[in-house]
């Protein structure tokens, strides 16, 4: 059986998405056997060259180096997969505090002295290249990462769930935090597939998987306003993983 050639790379991120793959302890050895991990700096120190059957890319693009790396991967790979919220939406690093510019942020951290950090606002991969498939989550779910690998082995991409977090949340018979406790739960507008991890422990969905396809954002906003949250707070929460939302979107 021929082993698909994979590149697994990280741009600006916490490495959690790559770690999620390394966390598939039970399957890891078999993954290593069935794939040719040509380029996986986090776990392999020898770099094989292009071409790749698939490049799985974690993280947002925020430096010229990231961009060069991304272009290299895109050009040398048949499929490019965006892995995780940062790669798809920008993620936490793309969040801004609503007041400072990027330069000010950099200056705040490094001082405006001799050091110049070459960086720009973290942006999703699709701003620069075409992306063939995405797996969302901060971090993504193990079984979705495995579903991707299994499908790649099979020459396809996996069919992932497309419903909001609430669907799984209800199916797990959790208490609805939005309805019953009037908490700031983003479940209705967030892409499910995580089996409603957070509400299952009694904690609101913070929206780590980004918007579901048909998010009724305007209505969610209304629901939260009705429950007494301030508009600023709601927007701050919503933009934690995806900086820009269309707050008027109803379909």
């Amino acid at each position: 059986m021929n082993r698909p050639r994979l590149a697994i790379a990280g741009l600006t991120a916490c490495s959690g998405c790559q770690l999620t793959l390394l966390n598939c302890e039970e399957e890891l050895a078999e993954v290593a056997a069935r794939f040719d991990l040509v380029s996986f700096p986090m776990a392999e120190s020898v770099e094989g060259g292009a071409p790749f059957d698939a490049a799985i890319v974690e993280g947002a693009v925020s430096t010229p180096g990231d961009l060069a790396n991304l272009f290299r991967l895109r050009n040398s790979s048949r499929l490019l997969v965006a892995l995780g919220t940062c790669a798809i939406f920008g993620g936490v690093a793309a969040m801004n505090n609503g007041v400072s510019t990027r330069e000010e942020l950099v200056a705040a951290v490094y001082g405006d002295g001799e050091k110049t950090v070459e960086s720009f606002a973290p942006a999703p991969l699709t701003n620069f290249v075409s992306v063939d498939f995405s797996i969302t989550g901060c971090p993504p779910e193990k079984q979705e990462v495995m579903a991707l690998l299994c499908a790649l082995l099979n020459g396809t991409l996996p069919p992932l769930a497309t419903y909001p977090v609430c669907t799984e949340c209800r199916s797990r018979e959790n208490l609805c935090l939005l309805l019953e406790r009037k908490e700031l739960c983003l479940g209705p507008i967030i892409q499910g597939g995580c089996n409603a991890r957070c509400p299952a422990t009694g904690i609101v969905c913070e929206g780590c998987r980004g918007p579901v396809r048909e998010a009724n954002v305007a209505q969610e906003l209304e629901l939260l306003l009705e429950r007494g949250f301030g508009r600023k707070e709601i927007e701050r929460r919503m933009s934690r993983f995806k900086p820009e939302w269309d707050y008027g979107q109803r379909r």
Binding site: N154, T156, P159
Partner: protein, 283 residues
Amino acid sequence: MTLLANHPDTPFAAKLLQRRQLSEDTALFTVAPEAAALPSLSRFIPGQFVQLSVPGAGEIPISPADLAHEDGTVDLCVRRVGHVTDALHQAPEGSTLGLRGPFGAGFPLAEMTGHPVLLLAGGLGIAPLRSLLLHLLQNGERFGEITLMYGAKKPTLMLFREELAELAARGGLRLYLTVDFAPEEPWGGFSCAVGLLPDLLKGFSFDAANSYAAICGPPALYRCLGADLERAGVAPQRILLSLERRMRCGIGRCCHCALGQKLCCVDGPVFRLSELKEIPEAL
């Protein structure tokens, strides 16, 4: 624990015998189901569909593009559009697939007997209509005049062109082809109009009052062609449309394919225009 009969969604094993590329994104797949499947699968009516499984990818509804073959093999003409069809197009000859069916209501052949039939195919819609056409031609003596109008986006996407031309040449079939766009460079070999299917129909004179019409193609086609045919004088009960809906189970349970209170998989996929007119969101 008692285990009852086998799940109705269990496909029979089937072997991919041959793949013949018909256009850039469409190929004809000849599939041989295992012996146990033959009693059911070798007896489908044109217009019915089968559920085709590609292991590891999933299952999709496909209408056979040919009549049932003597040896039990089935011809499926499939366009590469997404998840399962992608996998199918990559499957090497000899690989194992799954097949179950046939499902749904096909064309009302008995009722059509003795009447002229006008077939209108848009794009991939030729697949199920080819099956009907072959049936009509095979039983030519029992049907009236047979006409096929077939429109494709461009000449290279015209499926079965040579075969159709040959059938027309043998007589018994009036064939009209049209393409939406004429390519820059001349295309040789066959004569073909440029324009949409409804344009072809415009100048066409036929025994409308006595005819049946069968339409299969993209949804936009149904809306205008149905009205045109009615205006030309074909009774809406005799305008037959083969509809596409999302289908999961094929046996009326998953509910994706509902149109109004009907289910495309059990009540269709072939419907009469007269039925569909009662259902606002059908077309």
